[in-house]
């Protein structure tokens, strides 16, 4: 009877040893985070982003601009108009030679004054580092004279200001890259923003502290930490536990609990993205415009907004969000099965005995491609499938892993759910050029409408802001008329915020997140 007791004693000894090991681990690894303990007067903010950042190079990732570390020459304002930022004003006579007046009162984090020569060096670095920039900026030469930067483009290029809003063109001090080395610079770029990088751990976290001599005024908060967490539920819990003050991309199912907490609120602002259905022009089934128009009537946009997006979206009436200056003000198309049937009849389809539409004895069966990267898209596909069935159309849903490739490499699909940021930099020309022109990388449905091509061509050579707005609207109208895409909803940007954060709200373009005016109670 004594024997088993002895073995228990041994177990205790073993457990004790384990504990000692654990304790040893404690003392050796704690040092790095101990420093975070701050004095009471310091204002700290913690945010959680859903996208990871492998480095802090402003020319390859967006995180530096989002963390308030770097800034661009121009920015998009609240109403999606392009305004000056590091450049006070800009002008051009012929859309080829551009003059930018760089602000005179700006210093980099290391104290160096910002002048045109530094902007030039920075832009040259960005084109060097980023594959896609040379195509989008079309810069032939750069000239710096004091605070005036002259850009000459390789062709008349009215979209240049919009492209200079691109975070990849952030201005950094390239001199300091040479000083501190490329590796170090990638982790802590020297920019002009209200915050400078204090510590960066790849794919995990970035900590920033305020830059006291920030040109637009001293930042209100002292330090901020941004964590990258991919799991949506964990992000929501981070907000609920008050660990984090601002959390991007909350999961729909966690929203209720957050709304009930009186210290938290959910900010839901219109975004720049559109969820839509695109049609394959190479498919015999949907090459008839009447069929596409009929299908367009079978999208229940209200139900998508209320039941799939749980209210955090706006029903769509065109490629661009109606809140944008170049968005359309048309009425949102409602679900209309009867009219859809009429249109199908006009296209030569007749309803057969089973209630399904057929032409020449062949029932109308469509293949709809969807993908899971955006979880709401397969749901939209299912809703569409059931509504299409009411009009006698048989929709087969096919879930693919990589939609871009599948759509580009196959020609036998009919429809696809898709999602795109349709006006990333306060301008529609990106989307029109990539998704509708012959050479566009995202024109998987091989859309080629001559009237639309003309409008896009004209847009590409027009400088006047008002004319551009009108041309973009014209293009949107042509797109709707030909129903080459059917726009479903504009999803909102959903951000959970602790109410102690003041003077801050999420913005549609998701570029300018940490600002100098953000404050805490």
């Amino acid at each position: 009877m004594v024997k088993p007791l002895l073995s228990i004693k041994n177990l205790i000894v073993l457990l004790a040893i384990l504990f000692i090991f654990l304790a040893m681990g404690c003392s050796s690894e704690n040092s790095s985070t101990e420093k975070e303990g701050t004095t009471k007067e310091e204002k700290n903010v913690k945010m959680i982003f859903s996208f990871k950042s492998p480095n802090m190079d402003p020319h390859t990732v967006f995180t530096p601009i989002r963390a308030g570390v770097t800034e661009t020459l121009l920015k998009v304002g609240k109403d999606s108009h392009i305004e000056g930022w590091l450049a006070e004003k800009w002008s051009t006579k012929d859309n080829v030679t551009w003059e930018f007046a760089i602000r005179d009162d700006i210093t980099f984090h290391d104290g160096t004054k910002l002048d045109a020569a530094r902007v030039k060096a920075s832009l040259e670095r960005s084109i060097d580092v980023n594959e896609s920039l040379s195509g989008s900026l079309k810069i032939k030469s750069l000239e710096a004279d004091g605070q005036t930067l002259t850009i000459t483009t390789s062709e008349p290029y009215p979209a240049l200001p919009s492209e200079l809003v691109n975070p990849y063109t952030s201005i950094v001090n390239t001199e300091s890259e040479k000083e501190i080395g490329a590796e170090e610079f990638q982790n802590a770029p020297v920019g002009t923003g209200p915050f400078k990088v204090k510590n960066f751990i790849p794919n995990q976290e970035v900590q920033v502290s305020k830059y006291n001599s920030y040109w637009a005024g001293e930042p209100r908060i002292d330090e901020a930490a941004i964590q990258f967490i991919e799991d949506a539920n964990v992000r929501a819990l981070g907000l609920q536990s008050k660990e984090a003050d601002i959390v991007y991309n909350l999961p729909a199912e966690g929203m209720k609990a957050i709304e009930q907490d009186k210290n938290l609120k959910v900010e839901s602002v219109p975004g720049l993205r559109s969820h839509f259905i695109l049609y394959n022009q190479q498919s015999a089934n949907v090459s008839n415009v009447k069929v596409r128009q009929a299908l367009n009537l079978l999208i229940d946009r209200k139900s998508i907004k209320d039941d799939i997006m749980l209210g955090h979206a706006e029903p769509a009436n065109g490629p661009f969000n109606g809140t944008l200056p170049f968005g359309l003000s048309d009425k949102v198309q409602e679900l209309n099965v009867e009219k859809a049937k009429t249109l199908l009849n006009e296209a030569g389809y007749t309803e057969n005995a089973d209630g399904s539409m057929e032409k020449d004895g062949k029932p109308l069966t469509l293949e709809l491609i969807t993908y899971k990267a955006r979880p709401e898209l397969p749901l939209i596909a299912q809703l569409f499938q059931s509504d299409a069935a009411k009009a006698g159309i048989d929709v087969e849903i096919k879930n693919v892993e990589n939609a871009d490739t599948h759509l580009a490499e196959n020609t036998d699909w009919d429809l696809a759910t898709y999602s795109n940021n349709t006006s990333p930099r306060g301008d529609g020309s990106y989307f029109l050029n990539t998704a509708f022109t012959d050479t566009g990388a995202l024109n998987v449905g091989k859309i080629n409408i001559s009237a639309l091509n003309d409008v896009i061509q004209e847009l590409n050579t027009t400088n006047d802001a008002e004319k551009r707005t009108n041309l973009t609207k014209d293009a949107a109208n042509i797109i709707n008329e030909h129903a080459v895409h059917s726009y479903a909803v504009y999803p909102n940007i959903i951000v959970g915020v602790n109410k102690r954060i003041t003077n801050w709200e999420p913005t549609a373009e998701e570029y300018y997140i940490l600002t100098h005016s953000m404050d805490v109670k």
């Binding site: 073993l14 976290e205 964590q227 991919e230 819990l237």
Partner: protein, 303 residues
């Protein structure tokens, strides 16, 4: 070993190239930037995608011979650096999980074996059932919910401090522990009924000596065999736990690389895990000699 790795690399290279898609659109960031077909074609040929697969494989293999795994398409950094950045994170997670696993499974396994059919054994059985059937993402979420949200003892994610290590380690170690506790129990019960143990008892050898020095060692053999396998998979990265607690280890690196078709990173990862598994199994085989000297001497002595 070289053969295993060679076969592995040919196999993954082939599969990878057969899978639809390539990283070109992602490199050009077509979601935000104007990209034309010509841009794509240019990049494709500069990456060598227009060449036959065997040429691409040959080029990669020549690099590997010179210990050059190439550079990542996405980050532009050498694959070695990518791996070196993430390996310590995975090692830390593995170490934590093993600690939890040993801390739970050894006491539980020994107690269950000492008192088969009694309450410690019952508890062990229930625990094993729970441990084997709980998916780790759910366990992790529950742990975060309870400890980070309800009680606010531990942070919900991130790494660096020990308090941030505890939840991921438990999540990963718990499910493993369940299996090992049962394995250990089975092994111990079997060896405790062996003749040499009875002989030892008859000679008045103390029970704890018998248990820890004689029975435990013999019971470890099957445990070690399985251990070698799970250590390999642990070092390959525990994707679910890594993503849940935002520990960017090898597992999430591999998943990201696969999703973006970052071929050099995928190949480097497969090669590394292949080598790791082979080496680990070798070490496990060698450890048998240490644990049980009888293997070395043949089965001469039997108590």
């Amino acid at each position: 070993m070289v053969l295993v790795v060679l076969f592995l690399s040919i196999f993954t290279f082939g599969l990878m190239k057969m899978a639809p898609g390539d990283p070109v659109l992602a490199i050009l960031n077509s979601d935000e930037m104007i990209v034309t077909d010509a841009d794509q074609a240019k990049l494709r040929s500069s990456l060598g995608f227009d060449q036959p697969i065997y040429v691409q494989y040959g080029q990669w293999m020549i690099g590997v011979m010179q210990l050059d795994l190439g550079t990542s398409y996405m980050s532009g950094k050498p694959v070695w650096n990518e791996i070196a950045e993430r390996l310590p994170i995975t090692l830390q997670l593995t170490a934590g999980a093993l600690l939890v696993m040993v801390g739970i499974s050894v006491p539980l396994g020994v107690l269950s074996a000492r008192y088969p059919g009694k309450w410690p054994d019952q508890i062990g059985r229930i625990f094993a059932l729970i441990g084997a059937s709980i998916p780790s993402f759910w366990l992790g979420l529950m742990l975060i919910y309870i400890f980070a949200f309800k009680f606010q003892i531990f942070p919900s994610g991130g790494m660096g401090s020990v308090s941030q290590m505890i939840l991921p380690s438990i999540t990963l170690g718990f499910t493993l522990a369940a299996v090992y506790a049962r394995l250990l129990r089975a092994g111990l019960i079997e060896t405790l009924s062996k003749d040499y143990i009875r002989a030892g008892r008859a000679r008045g050898v103390k029970e704890w000596r018998l248990l820890w020095l004689h029975a435990f060692r013999a019971a470890l053999i099957p445990v070690m065999t399985v251990f070698g396998l799970s250590l390999g998979s642990l070092l390959g990265g525990a994707v679910v736990v890594e993503i849940l607690f935002s520990w960017p280890g090898l597992g999430s690196m591999a998943v990201d690389a696969i999703l973006s078709r970052d071929y050099p990173v995928i190949q480097g990862y497969v090669l590394l895990t292949g080598v790791l598994v082979v080496v680990l199994n070798l070490l496990v085989d060698l450890s048998y000699y240490l644990i049980d000297p009888r293997i070395n001497q043949g089965k001469r002595e039997s108590g």
